[in-house]
């Protein structure tokens, strides 16, 4: 369902898409990047040196001399099918490595920026 909002003279249409957020240890960054590159996502954002607590304890970011142990957060937006492929590729990983992923509904204005052919 598309919603419309009107601000003055411009009219923006919201298009529903899925958003995935992934948090993994820094050393898994190449793996997740490859997975996203191979999927149909049109782009993604990476936050380095993320801090937080997980099942295995606390992980402080902002380390001067260690890029391996700090956490990395990815987020990407795409259609449901693409997000499903990413989830399939990550689920086995989390059986062995620490990390989490969240999938949620979100909206974008410029749909053509986010949806490639699925």
């Amino acid at each position: 369902m598309n919603e419309s909002s009107t601000h003055g003279e411009t009219e923006h249409t919201f298009h529903p898409v899925k958003k995935i957020e992934i948090i993994v240890r820094g050393e898994k960054e190449p793996f997740v990047r490859d997975l996203l590159d191979e999927s149909q996502v049109s782009g993604y954002t990476i936050h380095h040196n993320v801090t937080g607590r997980g099942e295995h304890g606390f992980h402080e970011g902002r380390l001067l001399f260690n890029d391996r142990d700090s956490l990395v957060m990815f987020f990407a937006v795409a259609g449901e099918k693409t997000i499903q492929t990413i989830v399939d590729g990550l689920t086995p990983l989390f059986e062995k490595s620490s990390g989490v992923m969240f999938v949620s509904d979100t909206n974008v204005v410029r749909l053509d920026k986010f949806l490639q052919e699925e």
């Binding site: 793996f31 304890g57 606390f58 992980h59 402080e60 260690n66 890029d67 399939d88 590729g89 990983l93």
Partner: protein, 810 residues
């Protein structure tokens, strides 16, 4: 059954956790071969690894017998620990029993045809410029390239043409895995990856660096490896899946406990003696006067020896800091397009530093270029003539005398060669003499190469690295001269040179990093900003860079003598004192190397080290970090009066100036972790050299310019050679003890840091490293960390640890 590519990839990623990355020889990095098991307690980890790699996890009876005979294992400690496990026999009886157990366990390695075929193709594909006739189609990736030529391999049955093999990688997995449930895939992958941990470790390293030259030209991933191997296993009738009994033991405490108890007793003995020495040395808390010079060395265990000797020469203060000097850089030496990572394995480079000739020395650079080109042309000509079938015989006939003479000189008079090298250096100075690093940002050069690293450093980055250095070391005074001394080894004809260079610089010499930090600290703008942040560097302080030659103990200062930044008298005195320190340190080290030197000559020891530095047949130019056993974090005052025998990493730290613990946090999560990697590499290379080391140098061969194999093929050898660890066939030189970290800081500060770093706490909780804190708020009392998070008093530490261990065993 269709195979989901992304699921296969994730399963491979998981399986690859069991294999440690293996760096190519040129950037040999220390790493824990059991790094993938660090999330488990040490004892369980070595048993699982033993099951997978067939390697031993504890020292053998020979090492224990030697330690026992030398008094390195305290009888009382051993007896107490054995008694806690209900063992009351005499130690000699137990040594005999361990020896008998070992003889019973020894089995000859099985000949596995699948491994032979696999290693043949891996060596061909991964070749990095050694072979004269490379494998075709490598640009298409390993699986595709192999599929094209596999029909010509008579060791592979039933393949007439490429069409007999699956079209693509995904098809290959589908063909073999189709009959197994997904739940079994990971075990299958592990089984095949650990069969050749050297090659798979190298692929793991290379595949993660997609932008490196060879990986870009000839891509290979562990998926390629597995696709080829599973296809081969299928064709050759080898097992696809491991026997169920081969799979990882869920919980393994079924091994005999003797070696474990002996190791703990040995470690406790070393630890107790070291702590006693530190306590007796009684650190002085008084602030020192301004010394004549401060010299900063790498935390490397070899620095401890030279530091002691430098301090004896005059009013010199020495400090320890990670040998990349906190600058995470990639270095591009002069005259080459090659870029080398020059920071620790756990740090990614953030800047590219290029060596460029200083304007006033362009003519010197031209002269150097001319001679270098001539030499390169000569080398290329000789290679072409040697490799050319028609020319080879004539070439040998014609040039035999010349090459024979050179060979005789290298073999018979290596000391003369060392002097000749120095004479040539004086006549034709190397790039260090006329180049300067691009410390300033040079955006125009960023695009060259395309790996995205900015050339040079921004002002903010410069301030950050300078501040980090002085905060981590806890400096409050600055001498008129401050020297940052990186280190490197000198050894010809040695594939393992990188293992003797600076581990904090990814197996490269640390001089370039030292030059960068010195240049940063000499900038007025940087000093102004540091002053605002409370670090006040006096106007007259000059920062110099240097490099400690760990083979000869000579220290070279990178100073332009035509325009010295400090008085030439001051430099002259420093150089003279450094030469005296070299003589003392070399004499101390030569004693440990089974060398016979003329005791009547004062420079005999230095000459012996120089011979080793030039001798192309020398298998042990120096001991490297052999002997490493402890990592001490604190001011030099703690250790200055103690001879640590070159066995301790020393990181300077001042708990008083680090109120919020940030400096200590960075030391514990950075250098200490690298220290653990180095320590475990020496440990495992010593306890099982066949599984985790690389065997004797005498029978090693370099393959593909990337690694070594024993004899003419097989798996890549991954760890250190025997000559770096053993004094001779029967005597261990590196005493395999797990690292003891000793930190002078309040216990609650260390506790807070561990609570914020789960991965760090794992190392201590799982007994990969032992942690002792010297708490200055409790009269410098020692507090021992116990797995699980509690602290015990010094006197009770041994008993408490052993009680916990006995419970775990029960």
């Amino acid at each position: 059954m269709p195979i989901d590519r992304s699921v296969v990839r994730a399963r491979i990623e998981n399986a690859a956790e069991y294999v440690g990355p293996l760096w190519p020889l040129k950037t040999f990095n220390a790493a824990n071969p059991l790094g993938g098991f660090e999330d488990q307690p040490f004892d369980r980890a070595v048993q699982q690894a033993g099951q997978l790699f067939g390697g031993r996890g504890y020292p053998g009876p020979m090492a224990f017998r030697q330690a026992w005979a030398n008094g390195d294992i305290d009888a009382e400690v051993l007896t107490r620990r054995l008694a806690a496990h209900g063992i009351t026999e005499r130690p000699e009886v137990l040594l005999d029993r361990m020896e008998a157990d070992e003889r019973a366990e020894n089995t000859a390695p099985a000949d596995r045809p699948l491994d032979r075929v696999m290693t043949k193709w891996l060596a061909a594909f991964l070749d990095q410029g050694q072979s004269a006739w490379p494998m075709p189609n490598r640009a298409e990736g390993f699986y595709t390239a192999w599929r094209t030529v596999a029909p010509y391999d008579r060791d592979i049955p039933g393949v007439e043409g490429p069409s007999d093999l699956p079209d693509t990688l995904v098809d290959a997995f589908g063909a073999v895995l189709g009959s197994y449930p997904e739940a079994r895939w990971e075990a299958i992958f592990v089984h095949h990856l650990v069969a050749l941990p050297g090659w798979t470790g190298f692929i793991k390293w290379r595949a993660r660096r997609a932008n490196t030259e060879w990986q870009a030209a000839h891509p290979i991933t562990l998926a390629d490896y597995l696709a080829v191997r599973l296809t081969l296993a299928d064709r050759m009738g080898a097992s696809i899946a491991p026997d169920r009994t081969d799979e990882l033991p869920a919980n393994g405490t079924n091994q005999p406990a003797l070696p474990r108890i002996w190791l703990q007793a040995w470690e406790e003995t070393y630890r107790t003696r070291l702590l006693d020495d530190l306590r007796q040395a009684q650190p002085s808390e008084t602030e020192s006067e301004r010394p004549d010079a401060q010299l900063v060395f790498c935390i490397d265990t070899r620095s401890e020896v030279i530091r002691r000797h430098v301090e004896q020469q005059g009013d010199y203060e020495t400090h320890g800091y990670a040998g990349f000097f906190g600058v995470p850089m990639q270095h591009q030496p002069y005259g080459t397009q090659e870029r080398v990572k020059s920071c620790p394995p756990i740090v990614d480079p953030k800047h590219r530093i290029v060596e460029r000739p200083a304007e006033q020395y362009w003519s010197q650079a031209d002269r150097y270029d001319w001679w270098t080109r001539l030499e390169e042309a000569g080398t290329a000509l000789v290679k072409a003539l040697k490799d050319n079938v028609a020319a080879a015989f004539g070439f040998v006939e014609g040039s035999g005398g010349l090459f024979g003479g050179a060979m005789a000189a290298r073999t018979l008079v290596p000391s003369g060669l060392f002097r000749l090298g120095r004479a040539i250096e004086r006549w034709l100075p190397g790039p260090e003499a006329f180049c300067e690093p691009t410390v300033d940002r040079a955006p125009a050069a960023d695009g060259e190469g395309g790996d995205g690293l900015p050339v040079g450093l921004s002002h903010e980055a410069k301030v950050l690295y300078a501040e980090a250095a002085f905060r981590l070391m806890g400096w409050t005074t600055f001498a008129p001269i401050v020297v940052f001394a990186g280190h490197g080894s000198q050894t010809p004809n040695n594939p393992y040179k990188a293992s003797l260079d600076c581990g904090a610089c990814a197996g490269n010499p640390g001089g370039p990093n030292a030059r960068v930090l010195a240049a940063i600290c000499n900038e007025d703008a940087v000093r102004d900003e540091l002053r605002e942040r409370g670090i006040d560097i006096p106007e007259d302080t000059v920062f110099l860079a240097g490099q400690h030659n760990t083979t000869t103990d000579g220290i070279r200062l990178f100073v332009d003598d035509n325009d010295p930044p400090v008085s030439s008298k001051g430099i002259g005195q420093l150089r003279q004192d450094l030469r005296a320190a070299q003589a003392g340190a070399a004499a101390e080290r030569v004693e440990t190397m089974n060398a016979t030197v003329d005791a009547g000559r004062t420079d005999a020891a230095t000459q012996e080290t120089q011979r080793r530095a030039a001798d192309w047949a020398e298998t042990r130019p120096e001991w490297g970090l052999a002997g490493n056993a402890a990592f001490i974090v604190g001011p030099r005052a703690l250790t200055r009066e103690v001879d640590l025998g070159g066995r301790c990493f020393l990181h300077s730290y001042n708990w008083r100036t680090d109120k919020d613990g940030t400096a200590l946090e960075n030391i514990m999560t950075g250098p200490l972790v690298v220290g653990e990697w180095i320590n475990t590499q020496y440990y495992f290379s010593t306890v099982d050299n066949a599984a985790y080391g690389s065997g004797s140098k005498v029978t090693q061969n370099v393959v593909g310019k990337l690694g070594v194999v024993q004899g003419n093929g097989g798996d890549l050898m991954s760890g250190l050679p025997l000559q770096s660890l053993m004094a001779d066939d029967e005597h261990v030189y590196h005493r395999p003890l797990r690292l003891t970290a000793i930190i002078q800081a309040p216990v609650d500060r260390v506790d807070t840091i561990m609570q914020r770093h789960a991965n760090l706490a794992h190392l201590f909780d799982h007994e990969w490293v032992r942690l002792v804190v010297m708490d200055p708020k409790q009269d410098n009392a020692f507090r021992h960390y116990q797995p699980g998070g509690s602290w015990s008093a010094h006197a009770a530490a041994g008993e408490e640890e052993q009680a916990a261990s006995a419970v775990a065993q029960a």
